[in-house]
């Protein structure tokens, strides 16, 4: 059964230094608040897994939490580069980061294999691509029935997966809808799973066949309204496109990035305080 916990307690209890952690959400429902809390608690040496690193991993990498990144597309969608990721890869700041690079189809299949309890995923991929030359974990396997040579990649089985969802009930059953990405697979592939939610309700009123993660398959559920900002939560709030744009100059140099992290993340007690500080800064700028 998932415990209903504060985000602080969930991160403290379930994420340890050195863990392999997947914070998933494909453009939609990105668990930003949880990323912030990992920074606040100064977690280190993490292997971060995520198909699209996005701002959330730019922050974690720049703040020095990551030892390694496993990913398949690392950009600021619709804006440009992730400057902290690039600085870590190109200039080893704040320290060197190991990267393990895949394609989307590969990582999506690797999460499915992880959730299925399998050691590897098989897919038709990478023929003619240079990615297997730089990622020795991309191997091949021959179909025992047809002789076709297919790509084989290790499954993703994180120590902890963190996702954001729209609703939980008081027992900790979770409902999400809209763009689902790989969240269900990532949640079920992990040893432990933390879910932050927009609201906790008496009855999920989930339609039949809806994407429901049962409480007994999760570790913790945390009430964090707005916790996916600046991404969106379908039915609750829209994507904050301006924040994605505003992030570009903040992350572009080390000083402005560090000042932002010190002020907004390390300088706030929790996500509510972060939201209040962000809102008051926006108001003052008007």
């Amino acid at each position: 059964m998932a415990a209903i916990l504060s985000l602080h307690d969930a991160v403290k209890q379930f994420i340890q230094d050195g863990d392999t952690v997947a914070l998933e959400g494909f453009t939609h429902l990105i668990p930003t608040a949880a990323g912030h809390e990992i920074i606040r608690q100064g977690k280190q040496d993490l292997t971060l897994v995520r198909m699209t690193p996005d701002l959330i991993y730019d922050q974690l990498i720049g703040a020095g939490c990551a030892r390694k990144l496993i990913f398949s597309w690392g950009g600021n969608p619709g804006v440009g580069s992730l400057h902290r990721l690039r600085d870590a890869v190109e200039k080893q700041w704040p320290h060197a980061i190991e990267i393990e690079e895949h394609s989307h189809a590969d990582l999506a299949n690797a999460y499915v294999a992880g959730a299925s309890g399998l050691p590897f995923a098989v897919l038709r991929a990478y023929a003619g691509s240079d990615l297997p030359k730089v990622n020795p974990l991309i191997k091949s396997v021959t179909c025992p029935f047809t002789g076709e040579v297919l790509a084989a990649v290790p499954s993703v089985r994180p120590d902890v997966t963190v996702i954001h969802a729209q609703k939980a009930d008081r027992k900790g059953n979770v409902l999400l809808w809209g763009i689902l990405g790989v969240q269900k697979e990532a949640a079920l592939a992990a040893k432990r799973c933390i879910v932050t939610v927009e609201e906790i309700v008496d009855d999920l009123q989930a339609p039949m066949n809806a994407c429901v993660l049962p409480s007994w398959a999760l570790s913790a559920v945390c009430l964090v309204p707005g916790g996916a900002h600046p991404s969106y939560a379908h039915g609750y709030y829209e994507r904050d496109n301006r924040f994605y744009q505003a992030w570009d100059p903040i992350a572009r140099n080390r000083e402005s990035f560090t000042a932002w992290i010190d002020t907004y993340i390390r300088g706030t007690a929790d996500f509510n305080e972060f939201k209040a500080k962000l809102a008051s800064t926006a108001e003052a700028a008007q």
Binding site: H28, P77, V134
Partner: protein
Amino acid sequence: MSYSTSEMMTVAAARRLRNGAVCFVGIGLPSKAANLARLTSSPDVVLIYESGPIGAKPSVLPLSIGDGELAETADTVVPTAEIFRYWLQGGRIDVGFLGAAQVDRFGNINTTVVGDYRAPKTRLPGAGGAPEIAGSAKQVLIILKQSPRAFVEKLDFITSVGHGEGGDSRKRLGLPGDGPVGIITDLCIMEPEADTHEFVVTAIHPGVTREQIVAATGWPVRFADSVQTTDAPTETELGALRDLEARTAAAHGQTAGEA
């Protein structure tokens, strides 16, 4: 009606999508051209985005590959793993529509790195869905602006394969799809020559000279024996494109990125 070279590029790309085609759409320029096709010549084109929407019909261009409007207007929204496993690998995509940072003469694509992989001069976003789209879609269209930095003699990194080393490369690699059938730029349209599969110029946009194309290409570009002149954008096409961009700017407070 006057128009920009970017508009010409988008219109020329949109014309390549036949009505009813099932199209796997990349974000940015491909998404713009595919939606223009849907709003003009090909109302029944089926747009699939890697985030999960199948049959998306957005009224404005998405800024990200997983914008909420893609889900709201889709026939169905499926998990990302299903998109890649059942719909792409399953062989149901007619056209993969891709952008690129760099291409070579065989339509191979680099979106990973400029310079050495371990010590890059410029780190690019990476593969995303492109390698398997390039491999498994029945056909691939590539859209990008033409310049010597983008159209290079040799790619530093092949992220997504086109025609490999040319000739029967794709066959030897065992790739199911036909690979890239067109590169649409702001200057011209290139198509693979029979047998060699090297991309040669088959149509030049109005007002563009061969010298401009040669200067904007990093390899000694060749022209087909018969080179067409692209039809200029019609008022209908331009009107639809400009309305789409205006709606997008109003909705997002910015234009849809071309990255």
